[in-house]
């Protein structure tokens, strides 16, 4: 919740950074496994939501193919972070030696995966950018399904449906939230620069943007490249948290979840995306005891599995009906704004 203000401060005052680091440190030390994992998934979802927001929320390039990007980035990084013995002895991939016989640290793997994700994303975007509306959605949807299909059908390189495992547990609070804050920071900064304003102008009114001298193709590619870069990194963090990678892991259901986050939070708002990520990540977990059955006054309420998913669907429809702009609309959270609102309500 401290997003924007926190960040402006971070940029300016080392104290801010120090505080965030301290909070993260304390959380890292004190959170029990479940909450820590939840916190990490929240962070990863934040990365995914904020980066998806760049295309879907700002530039109005509504992609539901980001699962395919996570897959591409995930596999690209995975092939390098897997222990050599696993690649060679246990599953026996048919890869060139320079991939097979190396294991690289996390940072280069992240960068590599991010770049691969970006390249794949731009390759997808180039033909797809000519399309509008439902055709664009359809092509990105197809891209997601195709990526899964390709991963399944290349067992020599991806181990097919048997998936990859034995990843080193690289993902931790520092990586996840470091990158999450970085993405938020970049998004907020860009929004306040000519680049972000160009993205948003394209999203709102393509024709007008063009008449403001904005090169549509170039900026659409920027938006897609940036968004997919961090999406791929989110995928890699996910892989190194769950410690396995299977082709169908990044299915439409996952993308749908991320889309839900930005819709609930408010399309176009960075803090909205973060709030959406928090809600969706927490939603199923907070409600999980309800669907698993519980006791009230000695009466055992039996399990009702699927309830959370059902509720999620209902909530999403309700939000779209009652508050189509999402929680934050397109605004950003700020302490000043909050203070203003508070004083206004006091005055009334």
């Amino acid at each position: 919740m401290r997003v924007r203000e926190g960040f402006t401060a971070v940029a300016r005052y080392p104290i801010g950074i120090g505080l965030v680091v301290l909070v993260l440190f304390l959380l890292d030390r004190s959170l029990p496994g479940f909450w820590l994992t939840l916190f990490l998934l929240f962070g990863i979802n934040t990365i995914l939501a904020v980066s998806l927001n760049i295309t879907n929320g700002w530039a109005n390039l509504f992609s539901i193919g980001h699962g395919g990007i996570m897959l591409a980035g995930g596999y690209a990084a995975a092939l390098f972070t897997l222990p050599v013995f696993f690649k060679v002895d246990i599953i026996g991939l048919h890869l060139p030696g320079w991939i097979l016989n190396v294991q690289i640290p996390f940072l280069p793997a992240l960068l590599l995966g991010g770049v691969v994700g970006s390249i794949v994303g731009i390759l997808l975007a180039l033909p797809a950018l000519r399309l509008r509306g439902i055709y664009f959605i359809l092509v990105t949807l197809g891209f997601n399904l195709i990526m899964v299909s390709i991963a399944e059908n290349l067992p020599n390189y991806t181990n097919g449906a048997m998936g990859l495992r034995q990843f080193p547990l690289y993902t931790n609070v520092w990586w996840v939230w470091g990158i999450a804050f970085l993405v938020i920071y970049i998004a907020l900064r860009l929004r306040k620069s000519y680049i972000g304003r160009a993205f948003i102008a394209i999203g709102r009114d393509q024709e007008l943007a063009e008449h403001m001298g904005i090169n549509l193709l170039k900026y659409k590619i920027y938006a897609f490249g940036l968004s997919t870069f961090f999406t791929a990194i989110g995928g890699i963090l996910w892989v190194h948290l769950i410690l396995n990678l299977f082709p169908n892991a990044f299915s439409l259901a996952l993308v749908f979840h991320v889309v839900t986050m930005i819709v609930i939070g408010g399309m176009g708002s960075v803090s909205g995306a973060v709030i959406g990520a928090a809600i969706i990540t927490g939603f199923t977990e907070v409600l999980a005891p309800i669907e698993e059955g519980f006791q009230v006054f000695g009466v055992q309420v039996p399990h009702l599995f699927g309830l959370t998913t059902l509720l999620l669907a209902v909530v999403l429809i309700l939000i779209l009906i009652l508050r189509p702009q999402g929680i934050m609309g397109e605004g950003e959270f700020s302490l000043q704004g909050l203070r203003k609102r508070l004083s206004r309500s006091k005055a009334e």
Partner: protein, 267 residues
């Protein structure tokens, strides 16, 4: 200066020769020619459907002409993309007002300063002093424009929430922010009441002088064109073609113009 390295021609700032455009079977613009001197304010009038807006579309490259040539400051800009044309110094407003949805007026203005790009990505990400300085300057400049148009106090309102008349002003301010040499105004007074119209006309004349603009003005409200006599000359279009060009006085007597507007009748 970006753009073609075509040989510079001297003379008018904008020269259009033999422009043709048809949509399906409909000849929207027929052999349209026009020449605009630097600093000139030229009216472009004609009854509904005469093809005036299409001419604007063709100049800015939003539509590609079937034939003909558009030369701006000696550079051939025929069928260039709108962003390049804008970069060269042509800005336009729209007949149907286009406000960026849910964007504050001040931000809309800053968006319009896109072309200035006074800092680079690294300045943004590292929040260099340069970024802060330039961004502040943009804001100041935006406010300056808004003040000029008398809407500075509305800078933090959403553009789409403004009264219609003020939206028109934002539209023009936004076009000016592109620091154009040639401004294409597409029915700037449509939807305004008499007082607002008068005010806007004043503003248009003011900015023309202040920024040294050349302007083409498409207008329906004949009072603006005729009563005020603000145009140096007026081009009359009918059914896609230019029927005549002249000053107000000349046109008022021109039977062709009257016929174009009032119709020939059927008798």
């Amino acid at each position: 200066m970006p753009g073609d390295n075509n040989q510079r021609e001297t003379g008018p700032i904008l020269k259009i020769e033999g422009l043709n455009k048809s949509f399906g079977g409909l000849q929207a613009v027929l052999d349209f020619s026009l020449s605009l001197e630097t600093g000139e304010l030229k009216g472009l009038i004609g009854p509904n459907g005469a093809g005036k807006t299409t001419v604007f579309h063709l100049i800015t490259g939003f539509h590609k002409p079937n034939s003909g040539r558009v030369v701006f400051k000696g550079i051939n800009i025929t069928a260039q993309s709108p962003n390049r044309v804008t970069k060269l110094g042509i800005a336009r407003t729209f007949q149907k007002i286009r406000m960026l949805e849910n964007i504050k007026v001040i931000d809309a203005m800053k968006t319009a300063f896109y072309l200035q790009k006074p800092y680079n990505v690294l300045d943004v990400l590292f929040q260099t002093p340069k970024y802060g300085r330039e961004e502040r300057q943009l804001e100041e400049k935006a406010l300056e424009f808004l003040t000029f148009f008398g809407i500075a106090h509305l800078a933090n309102d959403l553009g789409s929430d403004l009264p219609y008349g003020l939206q028109r002003r934002v539209g023009i301010a936004r076009a000016l922010a592109l620091s154009p040499e040639l401004l294409l105004l597409d029915e700037p007074t449509s939807g305004l009441n008499t007082v607002e119209t008068d005010e806007l006309v004043e503003i248009i004349l003011e900015i023309k002088d202040k920024f040294g603009l050349s302007i083409i003005l498409v207008e329906h409200d004949m009072r603006v064109i005729m009563d005020k006599g603000i145009c140096d000359s007026i081009v009359v279009m009918h059914q896609g073609a230019v029927i005549t060009e002249g000053t107000c006085e000349e046109l008022q007597e021109d039977e062709r113009v009257i016929e174009a507007y009032l119709g020939a009748g059927v008798a």
